[in-house]
Amino acid sequence: MNSKGDRSDAWLTELESEAIEIIREAVAAAARPVMLYSIGKDSSVLLHLARKAFWPASPPFPLLHIDTTWKFRDMIAFRDRTAAEAGMELRVHTNEDGLREGVDPFSHGAERYTEIMKTAALRQALDAGEYDIIFVGARRDEEKSRAKERVFSLRNAAHQWDPKAQRPELWNLYNTRLHRGESLRVSPLSSWTEVDVWRYIAVEAIPVVPLYYAAERPVVKRDGQWIMVDDDRMPLLPGERTRERRIRFRTLGCYPLTAAVESDADTLDAIIAETLAADGSERRGRLIDHDRDGSMELKKRAGYF
């Protein structure tokens, strides 16, 4: 996107250059860098920026995916395709203990399931990899507690975030020095908004999981939200029935925990228009955020991504 002069792209160019600067700075400081790859739109953008930052070389780090085994099938297919196309190593980690104990979002509840299959799984994978720099696709506009997190966010050896022990970040100077066991979560998309992400995907023609585009899909209505029935593991409650609806996802997570929205937006232009006019935030579809006030902050202190 170094074609200059297109006014509507001007700030995307600025965001892109800033993100590339952050990625290069982090890699220059890293001993064992890794990129958390969640398959969603933000991950797609992050991966694209990393490839730009190091072109003509491949990004000098692997991708890490925490597989809860409850991702949409479309996502897994997309993941494998994308990693292969980028020529990068893909490391997949599942919490085998949780799997053995049959932890799932229905029988254990969203909060417990997330703790075991996501938060604990992530800690296991990070400990095993001894990563010191961990790229994530977090944006400050996603959630209130993220507005105050640093671009380079310090985690202790237990992967916990302490909002009081954050390092001040001035200019574009990042303090990347670490004691043994500590790590930094690096968020190159900090200043991006949801619309920025979609506009950038459009301008750069970045592939994303088809679930972001509206189509007829099987869903049930549960607690006022549309939940897609991705496979036969989903138990229907009394009175629930599967129906076909034209839906899309604004955010993608584990399928029983991520609600869809009714939509006709089946092109990028339509998605951008819908995002600009949206009345609800994208995380409204994330059921785990609603457990409790300040719940994201509590999760982050515990090491959630």
Partner: protein
Amino acid sequence: MRPTLRFVLCGSVDDGKSTVIGRLLYDCRQVFSDQMSRIERESARYGTQGRETDLALLVDGLRDEREQGITIDVAYKSFETPRRRFVVADAPGHEQYTRNMATGASTADLAVVLVDARKGILPQTARHTRIAVLFGVRHLVLAVNKMDLVLWDRGVFESIKARYHGVADEIGVTGFQAIPVSALTGDNLTRRSVSAPWYAGPTLLACLETVDVEEPAVGQPFRMPVQYVNRPDSDFRGYCGRVAAGEVAVGDAVRVSPAGPESRVESIVVWDGTCERAVKGESVALTLFPDVDVTRGDVVAAADAPVGVADQFQARLVWMHDDPLAVGRPYVMKLHAREIGASVTRIKHRLDVSNGSRLAASTLHLNDLGTVNLATDRPVPFAPFEESRKLGGFILIDRATNATAAAGTIRFPLMRAANVKWQNLDISKDIRSRLKLQQAQCVWLTGLSASGKSTIANLLDRRLTIEGRHTYLLDGDNVRHGLCRDLGFTEADRVENIRRVAEVARLMVDAGLIVIVSFISPFRSERDYARSLFESGEFIEVFVDASLEACAARDPKGLYAKAFRGEIKNFTGIDSPYQPPVHPDLQLDTEELSPEECADLLAERIEQELPLK
């Protein structure tokens, strides 16, 4: 016009900063209905607006803050209108949070200074303005808030504006826009107020949408710090970085600092191809022909206008850490893409930010601002901060805790360090060591007074000498009779004491000797600094470990007794801290082992780690 405006909002507690941002977001349709219903719920619990929805809750993010009702950290929000894209930093108003204010200001093009119409200009108003300007903000907007509470009285607004003129003049700001607003009602924030027909200027939002903050880029010479050297194979070497100033085109002659070789831009590499030119703000990779030696932290600049290179500077600092500045203590300086050792050699003065007066100071505490002289280990490429934020802004990092201890701005280089050059000598350390049939090294014993350092050092020295090694023993007490006669026992003096001893030890190792240093050396950062002077494997840190009780019971010189009686001040372990090594190369427990056993262990360790030739 700049497509994105980054601004910082500053003001005192209760001036309504978070409400202003909440209102801007709300009126610009950047608040979703689920977020809104959540803050409506929270308003009942934490809100300060009675039955009204408290828009400030949109930005006051963290639990603790919600309960205290204040913002304790910098929060960033991105939002857009059809005319412009914004990133706003919400900086806290509490007086003790100067460092957050500096953080918010460092990336801002413009500062909105918020004043409560009922309270007028407060000491913090001047303070925040001064910090914003010191950290690079060039454009100011004065927003006089809560005008509804003074019934939109024009006289109140005009008198505050006039007083702020005085403040701005004194700080050296040439102009500002003053706007009367009410964040609670949104008057003159996003829509014109019908209550103030006497005000003809723009609303705050209109002002932000149209202000031109572009620095005069034309004529600025090209500068790019190298962040990363991309070498996928032997044929390609791309020097990656973000253009800090000016522009560059294929074929341009460039000079790489600090080494100084000249070359030409062969290509400007971007994703899937190349381009002909790149301008300030763009992240690119350059290839040069002929290829010259370039590493991370070098600066590529226009050949006819290379950047300055120096190792001594005058700089402004804002201290950001609980541990105060220690003059002479080695810190890590991060300046653009370069990390380097640096220490403050002298504090010129501390700045009283409320009135701009200069005060004498021997240290800087958390939230203090001051002007200092700074020396770096090696010459670094730089530009004065006035010219370039990118090449003149830096942070200092504490070596022991890795905390960001300070942020600073380079004012100008000091004296002609350039005239003192390293003389390259023919006889190297290696040659000197080999002549002595040994490997030069520094054995550094640290521990409390009376822990047994001197006794062990003496035994080791004797033993090595008998074996025919060439050694020297530097002892804490002895050195203080001469080299360090002028130093006392304050923290600053202890830092300088260790610095001198470490430098002497380095010279002696350079001369091929095995140097045994026996010093309390209580601070981790100084010992780390000492280690940094030596090559890997040349420095052995030995922790001579005995409890304070044991040392006090031994007390061969009667010092502990005096310290307990208060006759000696700053005594390590009593009223001055001792920071034990975290990962010493060797730990000797002198409560369990005899001095002879310790010396044996040490000699063994020396031979095992660094076989004597």
